[in-house]
């Protein structure tokens, strides 16, 4: 416990909390994945594609979320699911995190692979990446799943029939509990 009385878990979760717009994206992803928005925050779900915004006036799409359309500055941004894929721009294997959860959840033994992905429809996204598609230019399929806080994150995996299985396996690691972690 820290001086303020918060556990390390509370601090880690606070550090991972999203903006109201980011939280709205999670709510929609959870509904589209077939899970009630009011359900258990730690419940697993997996949605094919990503949630982002599209302008009802000029049709521009954008990510990360924002209050106005970046093209025409209109207020008509609407949440959309996009099931398209993308290609890998660059990657990293992350060994040092500012959030203790990552170290305490067994991450040191198997560091996360993070990718920067250019979506076919324009936006650039950070994703948890499948190790088998680290080459720059690799085609990837995108999925959305909850992290340890219940908020959504994007997962990028090799395109093809095994994509959903690969995404499910990464999603499971994201919410893996660790005995040493309180």
């Amino acid at each position: 416990m820290t001086e303020s009385g918060e556990s390390e878990r509370d601090l880690a979760i606070k550090q991972l909390s999203r903006t109201p717009l980011g939280h709205a994206a999670t709510q929609l992803a959870r509904i589209l994945a077939g899970q009630n928005a009011g359900g258990d925050a730690s419940g697993k779900w997996l949605m094919h594609g990503v949630i982002w915004q599209q302008c009802g006036k000029c049709t521009a799409v954008c990510y990360p979320p924002r209050p106005l359309c970046p093209e025409c500055l209109s207020e008509q941004l609407q949440w959309r699911r996009n099931a398209g894929g993308g290609r890998v721009l660059s990657t990293t294997c992350l060994y040092v995190s500012l959030n203790k959860f990552y170290h305490l959840s067994g991450r040191d033994a198997e560091p996360w692979v993070i990718g920067m992905v250019s979506h076919d429809d324009g936006p650039v996204l950070f994703v948890f990446l499948d190790k088998s598609v680290m080459a720059v230019g690799s085609r990837i399929a995108l999925f959305t799943a909850p992290d340890i806080t219940g908020e959504s994150v994007i997962i990028g995996v090799r395109e093809g029939t095994l994509a959903i299985q690969s995404a499910g396996s990464i999603a499971a690691k994201l919410v893996q509990k660790n005995e040493n972690y309180r």
């Binding site: 820290t2 550090q15 991972l16 909390s17 999203r18 903006t19 717009l21 980011g22 994206a25 990510y63 990360p64 979320p65 924002r66 721009l89 660059s90 990657t91 990293t92 294997c93 992350l94 060994y95 040092v96 995190s97 500012l98 959030n99 990552y102 996360w112 993070i114 920067m116 250019s118 650039v124 996204l125 950070f126 994703v127 948890f128 720059v136 992290d147 908020e151 994150v153």
Partner: protein
């Protein structure tokens, strides 16, 4: 729309004086205002100025909140004709001095103290980095909480693959800068660095290892900005500010940018200074990660794109057969990164060199310096690029 950098005007008769670097600390219980105020006290003492004679204050600090520049006016009991807070990360020093120079030229203030300073409290640091911007909160921090190392690892890998650059090429820069730090009294890291140690250091975010990352710390850096006549009346050593420029969000629309704005204004910057890039004696580039130092050398025209590391040895930077003094105090990679003070470090060091006041590392026969800054990783790239050229004043 104004074309980037066009109409760039030189800074006539504006000078920089009294460079101060408040020694960096790894551990402290002092707030940011302590470091900023210490810089102010020392620069006023160096210039022989009484506090009321400093009528302008420009500060840059991420850890000053909830205070602002005007809180400092009350904290230090000083009335101001001009107050400015520039929150542009590693571009803050150059942009802040540029703002101050325009204000002094317009007569809005006579003597402006420009100070970047931050404290370092480890528990708060992680939270501040992870919640740096709304895009970071929703789109970057959830992916491992790696801070700026994640976007810079992506950039470093892309640069390496695009230009066939190896880790050793970054290693030479780090070793060169560490050698410079060995004679700079205030660097936190002064022990020599070998290529073997660089390459075998523990990974942080591949391809970045420990020695590719700056050590966060507390400290402050600053200079005074005034008219040349005022500096002469004070009898204080000074340098002339010849030209400066800034550009923000220059890489919009690019998925994986390898250029960040300097090339948009560099021709006008050199034109305004009446100097060519090959005439620069000292170059201080912003080195939060080695890839950025190389990119600035290239974009600012010291060498061709993708080629900077070819002109680097472990001892010197020699573009076109001429030695250019690079990051002469060891840069942030050796001295540490005291928050936004990191964006002032190249400036204060260059002003010391050109006024023969260096702290143990004085160079001979240096006439001018190019300084550049880079800041604000709002999402996946730095948004703020700035540069300035200063020249020795022959007294």
């Amino acid at each position: 729309m104004k074309v980037a950098g066009k109409l760039q005007r030189s800074h006539q008769d504006i000078v920089l004086a009294s460079p101060v670097s408040v020694p960096y600390k790894r551990k402290t219980e002092q707030p940011a205002s302590y470091f900023i105020g210490t810089a102010l006290r020392e620069m006023l003492a160096a210039a022989g100025l009484e506090k009321p004679e400093c009528d302008g204050l420009m500060v840059s600090s991420y850890s000053l909140a909830p205070d602002t520049v005007v809180s400092l006016a009350e904290t230090f009991d000083i009335s101001l004709n001009w107050a400015e807070q520039v929150q542009l990360g590693g571009a803050s020093g150059i942009v802040g001095v540029r703002r101050a120079a325009r204000a002094v030229a317009a007569g809005d203030a006579e003597v402006i103290a420009c100070i970047g300073g931050d404290t370092f409290i480890p528990d708060q640091f992680a939270g501040l980095l992870g919640r740096f911007s709304n895009f970071t909160i929703d789109g970057v921090t959830p992916y491992g909480c790696g801070g700026a190392s994640v976007p810079f690892a992506m950039l470093t890998r892309a640069y390496m693959e695009t230009y066939a650059v190896a880790r050793e090429d970054f290693g030479r820069l780090c070793i060169l800068q560490r050698k410079n730090a060995q004679v700079y009294q205030q660097a936190l890291l002064r022990e020599s660095l070998t290529m073997e140690a660089y390459l075998s250091a523990r990974p942080v975010a591949e391809p970045l290892g420990l020695f590719d990352c700056v050590m966060p710390c507390a400290g402050a850096e600053g200079v005074l900005v005034m008219q040349e006549g005022r500096a002469q009346a004070l009898g204080v050593p000074y340098v002339r500010l010849l030209a400066s420029a800034e550009r923000h969000n220059a890489s919009r629309g690019m998925a994986m940018p390898l250029t960040f704005g300097w090339r948009d204004f560099r021709d006008d910057l050199y034109h305004a200074a009446s100097l060519r890039p090959e005439a620069m004696d000292i170059v201080q580039v912003y080195d939060d990660y080695p890839v950025m130092a190389l990119l600035q050398l290239e974009e600012l025209g010291l060498c061709q794109v993708g080629q900077a590391s070819r002109f680097l040895t472990e001892d010197s930077f020699i573009p076109q057969g001429r030695v250019v003094h690079l990051n002469t105090s060891g840069g942030q990679l050796s001295a540490g990164q005291a928050g936004f003070a990191g964006g002032f470090m190249g400036l204060t060091e260059a002003v010391r060199q050109l006024t023969d006041q260096a702290l143990g590392n004085q160079l001979a026969e240096v006439r001018n310096a190019l300084i550049s800054g880079f800041g604000m990783i709002n999402y996946n790239r730095g948004l703020c690029a700035a540069a300035a050229i200063i020249e020795r004043a022959e007294l």
